[in-house]
C-alpha cells in the first residue's frame, strides 16, 4: 500500500514547505491543544508515514490493509506527558492510554483558530510563498468560464422562477469557486454525491445548458423523467448521482461507493458535498466514522457558507467549524478559503491523491458565504442584513477574484469577458425556450421505475387512472401526454 506514491512525491516537489507544518502537536498542560505548540497539523500532507505494525492488543478487523498506518502525530502525545509516578502506557481493548495523576480536561475549543488555507488574496493576487498546485492556462480559463456560466445560469433560472416559468430554483451564488475548482481537481471517473448546491460540478463535467433546462422544466428529455423538483439533477454518464432534497443522506452513500472503488482498485475516489447545516445530521457522523473504519477513498467537502436557510452557524454547532471534527473521527481534514479557486483546486487535488493512494477519507471545510437566498422560497433579508449580503456579493466574489488572477497572467481580458457572457446568455435563453415548449413525460412514467418491472398493483392503478383521466380530462394538465 503506497503511502508516499510517486505522484505524492511530485506534489512534494511542487509544493514548498513554508507553511510551517513541520512541528507536531503537543498537548499543553492546561489541556488546551494549542498552547505550547501552535501547529497541530501533519507535516505537510504527504511526508512519509511510519509503517507500524498494529500495536493494539485487541483484535481489530482491518477491512483492507493488514497494517494500520500511524500518523506521526500520535507519538508525541505519549512523549510529552509530564512525569508522573507512572509514566507507562497500558493497552486497553479500546485503545492505548497513558495515565496521569493530573486531572486535565481537553478544552472544548482548540484555542487558536484553525488555519484556513488560501493562496490568492482578496484581489486575486498570489500570496507570496504560497503552496498550490499549478493550473494550466487552458484549465484556468475553463474554470473561469464555468464559474461565469454558473453565475449566468443562476441569474436567468432564478428569474424564470420569478416569472412563473419554473416552479422552483436555488442558486449557487458565492460558491462558484467551490463548485468549479473542486470539479476541476477531480477526474471524470470520480463519483460525485451532491447535496443540491453543486450544479457547477455537473457543468464542469459537460452537462449542457439544455440538459439543465430540461430538468428544471421537467420535460420528456429530463433524465429524471419529470419526477422531481427543479435543480434535482442527476447524470449517470457524468458520474453525478441524482440530487435528493434530504439533507446529508448522500454522505454515507459516498462512503459505500468509495469502498466499492477501493475493492475494484480503481484510480478514482468518491466525493460528496454538503453544507454547514448538513454536518449536524446523523448521517454526517455515521459517514465519517464508517469512512475511517473502512478506510475508504472518499472526499467530504463541506460548503460552510454560514447559513442553513435562516440558521446561522452559531445556532448550528459550537465546534470550531467543521474541519476540527475530522480528527475526532480519525479523518484527515483541512480548512480552506472556499472563495479562493486556486486554494480549492489545490486542496481537492491533494485530497484526491491521499484518498486514492492511502485509502483514506479526507474532510475539506470550504469557508464561504451563501450570497443568494436559500432558494426561491426564501427571502434572506428577513434574517440577515441586506448590506451584509451585498458586501459578500461585491467585495468577496470568488469569480471576480479568480478573474483577476487569470487577467494578471494574461489569460483573460474584457473582450473575452463580454463575449463569453453574452454568448452564454443567448445559449441559455434559447435552451430555456426549447425546454419550455417541449412535451412533458407521458403519464406512463408515473408508474415505471418504482421497481425494475411494474408490479401488478401498479398496472391495476394505471388502468384505473386512465379511466379517470378519460372521464375527467379537465382535472389534468394538458401538457402531460397519456
Amino acid at each position: 500500500m503506497a503511502f508516499c506514491s510517486k505522484s505524492s512525491r511530485n506534489i512534494i516537489n511542487n509544493l514548498k514547505s513554508k507553511l510551517g507544518l513541520s512541528r507536531l502537536m503537543n498537548r499543553g498542560s492546561d489541556g488546551c491543544l494549542n498552547k505550547t505548540n501552535p501547529d497541530r497539523f501533519l507535516p505537510l500532507i504527504t511526508l512519509p508515514q511510519l509503517r507500524n505494525p498494529d500495536s493494539y492488543s485487541h483484535k481489530t478487523s482491518h477491512s483492507f490493509s493488514s497494517q494500520r498506518f500511524q500518523s506521526t502525530t500520535s507519538e508525541p502525545q505519549f512523549a510529552s506527558v509530564p512525569n508522573g509516578e507512572h509514566n507507562q502506557e497500558l493497552d486497553f481493548p479500546g485503545g492505548k492510554v497513558v495515565f496521569s495523576p493530573e486531572m486535565r480536561f481537553l478544552s472544548e475549543s482548540p484555542c487558536v483558530y484553525n488555519n484556513c488555507y488560501r493562496v490568492l488574496d482578496d484581489n486575486g493576487q498570489l500570496i507570496s510563498n504560497s503552496i498550490f498546485v499549478q493550473v494550466s492556462e487552458k484549465i484556468a480559463v475553463k474554470m473561469y468560464s464555468s464559474m461565469a456560466t454558473l453565475q449566468i445560469l443562476d441569474t436567468i433560472f432564478f428569474e424564470a422562477q420569478r416569472q412563473g416559468r419554473i416552479s422552483f430554483y436555488l442558486t449557487t451564488i458565492g460558491e462558484e469557486a467551490i463548485n468549479i475548482a473542486s470539479a476541476a481537481a477531480l477526474t471524470s471517473d470520480d463519483i460525485v454525491f451532491p447535496q443540491y448546491r453543486e450544479p457547477g460540478v455537473l457543468l464542469w463535467r459537460g452537462f449542457t445548458l439544455q440538459e439543465f433546462a430540461n430538468q428544471c422544466f421537467g420535460n420528456k428529455a429530463d433524465y429524471g423523467k419529470g419526477r422531481q423538483m427543479p435543480i434535482h439533477y442527476g447524470s449517470n454518464k457524468h458520474n453525478y448521482f441524482t440530487v435528493s432534497s434530504t439533507i446529508a443522506t448522500q454522505i454515507p452513500h459516498a462512503v459505500g461507493a468509495a469502498y466499492s472503488l477501493k475493492m475494484d482498485k480503481k484510480d478514482a475516489c468518491a466525493v460528496t458535498y454538503f453544507g454547514d447545516g448538513g454536518t449536524s445530521e446523523g448521517d454526517f457522523h455515521a459517514a465519517l466514522n464508517f469512512a475511517a473504519v473502512t478506510e475508504s477513498p472518499v472526499i467530504f467537502i463541506c460548503r460552510n457558507n454560514g447559513w442553513a436557510i435562516s440558521t446561522p452557524t452559531s445556532d448550528q454547532f459550537r465546534s470550531e467549524g467543521i474541519a476540527v471534527r475530522g480528527q475526532a473521527y480519525g479523518v484527515r481534514s483541512i480548512r480552506v478559503d472556499g472563495n479562493d479557486a486556486l486554494a480549492m483546486y489545490s486542496a481537492v487535488h491533494a485530497a484526491r491523491e491521499m484518498a486514492i493512494n492511502e485509502h483514506r477519507p479526507v474532510l475539506i471545510e470550504a469557508i464561504t458565504y451563501r450570497v443568494g437566498h436559500h432558494s426561491t422560497s426564501d427571502d434572506s433579508t428577513k434574517y440577515r442584513p441586506a448590506d451584509e449580503i451585498e458586501w459578500w456579493r461585491m467585495a468577496r466574489d470568488p469569480v471576480t477574484r479568480f478573474r483577476k488572477w487569470i487577467e494578471t497572467n494574461g489569460w483573460w481580458g474584457s473582450e473575452a469577458e463580454s463575449q463569453l457572457r453574452s454568448s452564454i446568455r443567448n445559449q441559455l435563453l434559447q435552451a430555456i425556450q426549447i425546454a419550455e415548449r417541449a412535451e412533458k413525460p407521458p403519464v406512463n412514467d408515473l408508474f415505471t421505475d418504482v421497481y425494475d418491472n411494474i408490479p401488478s398493483n401498479l398496472r391495476d392503478q394505471e388502468k384505473l387512472l386512465r379511466e379517470t383521466i378519460n372521464r375527467h380530462p379537465e382535472d389534468y394538465p394538458a401538457d402531460v401526454p397519456f
Partner: protein
C-alpha cells in the same frame, strides 16, 4: 408452546428464477437434489455462503457479523471470503444502510444485517427516502437494487419491547422496496437468495424464534424461490387463513385442530408482503368465502389491515363473514405478559370457528 418440526412440503406451483441479476443455475425442482437437515440460521448461512461464492461483488456487513453474528447466521463467511467482503461495521444502523446503498449503487450486492428488527428505525430514513426512491427519482439512471437488508424479527419468548418487534407494516407502506418473510429453513434459503439477486432493494425479516427451533430438510444446492408469489401450504375449503413467518406454525396447529371439528382450512403463506400476491389470496377467498389474517404485530395498522381492505374491495359479494384478524395487541411488546399479547393457537382457533359460524 411446542413447535412442530417443519417438514418439507411439496411445493405445487413452479418455482422460477427471479431477477435479471441472477447468476444461479438452480433448477426449478427443489426436491431432486441432496438435502440436509438444518435449522433456520444454518439455512440462512448457506444462502449467504452461496451468495458470496457466486458473486465476487457480494458483501456482508453489519454489527458483529465477522465472528458469525449474534445468531450465527454469518458463521464462517469472514474466514472463507475475507475481511474485505465480510466485515463488522460501527454500531450505527443509519450508517449500515447508507453505506449499503452506496455500495449497491455501484453495482455490488450489499447484504446488510441489522442486528434486531427493533433497531432498524435509525435506518428508516435511508430505507424510505433513499433506497426506495433511488431508481425512481433518478429516472432509472441509478439504482440500489443490489441492497438486501436482513433483520431478525418477532417474538422469542422473552424478548420484551426491544427484541421481539415485527415492524413489517412500516415498510409495506413504502413503494420501491420489497418486504419478504420466510416461514422455514428451506423457504429462507431460497427466498434469501432471490432477495439478494433481485434488482430491487429488499428488507428480509427472519423469524428469530425459528433460528434454532425450526429444523427441516434443506437442499444443499443453490436454488431460488420466487418473490411476490404466495403459497398455499394447506388446502381447504371452508376458510382461508393468511399469514407469514413464525405465525404460520401457530396457524397450522389451529388448522389441524379445526379439522377435528370438521372445518377445512386453507392456509396461505404470503412470503412476500410487498408487493404481495393478491391473486392467490383472492382465488382462495373465492373458493372459501371466508378469510382470517394473523400476525404478531399489533392489529391496528398492521399488514393484515391492508390484506383485509383489499379482499373486501375485490371479493365483497363472495364473503360470508367479516374478515377476521388475530394479531398482537396494540401495546408495546411486553415481557411477562407475552403469552397474553400473542395471537395464540387458541385465539386463532376461536376466530376460525367464529368466522365459520358467522
Amino acid at each position: 408452546m411446542a413447535l412442530r418440526n417443519i417438514i418439507g412440503k411439496r411445493i405445487g406451483n413452479g418455482i422460477g428464477l427471479v431477477g435479471r441479476r441472477s447468476l444461479s443455475t438452480a433448477t426449478c425442482d427443489v426436491e431432486n437434489r441432496n438435502s440436509k437437515s438444518m435449522n433456520l440460521y444454518s439455512a440462512i448461512n448457506q444462502a449467504l455462503h452461496l451468495a458470496l461464492e457466486t458473486d465476487p461483488r457480494a458483501f456482508v456487513f453489519g454489527e458483529d457479523v465477522s465472528f458469525g453474528g449474534v445468531f450465527r447466521c454469518t458463521t464462517g463467511l469472514a474466514d472463507r471470503f475475507g475481511k474485505a467482503r465480510v466485515f463488522n461495521t460501527p454500531l450505527c444502523e443509519q450508517g449500515i444502510v447508507g453505506f449499503g446503498i452506496g455500495l449497491a449503487a455501484m453495482g455490488n450486492r450489499a447484504i446488510a444485517e441489522i442486528q434486531f428488527a427493533d433497531y432498524i428505525y435509525p435506518a428508516f430514513d435511508q430505507i424510505v427516502n433513499e433506497a426506495a426512491k433511488f431508481r425512481y427519482r433518478s429516472g432509472n439512471q441509478f439504482n440500489c437494487g443490489g441492497l438486501t437488508i436482513r433483520a431478525p424479527y418477532g417474538a422469542v419468548g422473552h424478548g420484551g419491547h426491544y427484541h421481539s418487534q415485527s415492524p413489517e407494516a412500516f415498510f409495506c407502506h413504502v413503494p420501491g422496496i420489497k418486504v419478504v418473510i420466510p416461514r422455514s429453513p428451506r423457504q429462507a434459503k431460497g427466498l434469501l437468495l432471490s432477495c439478494i439477486r433481485d434488482p430491487n432493494p429488499v428488507v428480509f425479516f427472519e423469524p428469530k424464534w425459528l433460528y434454532r427451533l425450526a429444523v427441516e430438510e434443506v437442499p444443499e444446492h443453490d436454488y431460488m424461490l420466487p418473490l411476490s408469489e404466495a403459497e398455499v401450504i394447506r388446502q381447504g375449503s371452508d376458510i382461508t387463513l393468511v399469514g407469514w413467518g413464525a405465525q404460520l406454525t401457530i396457524m397450522e396447529q389451529a388448522c389441524i385442530e379445526a379439522e377435528k371439528d370438521g372445518i377445512s382450512c386453507e392456509l396461505i403463506d404470503l412470503k412476500t408482503l410487498m408487493p404481495w400476491d393478491k391473486e392467490t389470496v383472492e382465488a382462495s377467498v373465492r373458493k372459501t368465502g371466508r378469510v382470517l389474517i394473523s400476525h404478531e404485530a399489533p392489529v391496528t395498522g398492521g399488514f393484515g389491515a391492508e390484506i383485509s381492505a383489499s379482499i373486501v374491495e375485490r371479493c365483497f359479494l363472495r364473503l360470508e363473514a367479516p374478515v377476521a384478524r388475530v394479531c398482537g395487541l396494540d401495546t408495546p411488546f411486553p415481557l411477562v405478559f407475552e403469552p397474553f399479547y400473542m395471537p395464540s393457537k387458541n385465539k386463532v382457533l376461536d376466530a376460525i370457528k367464529a368466522t365459520v359460524d358467522y
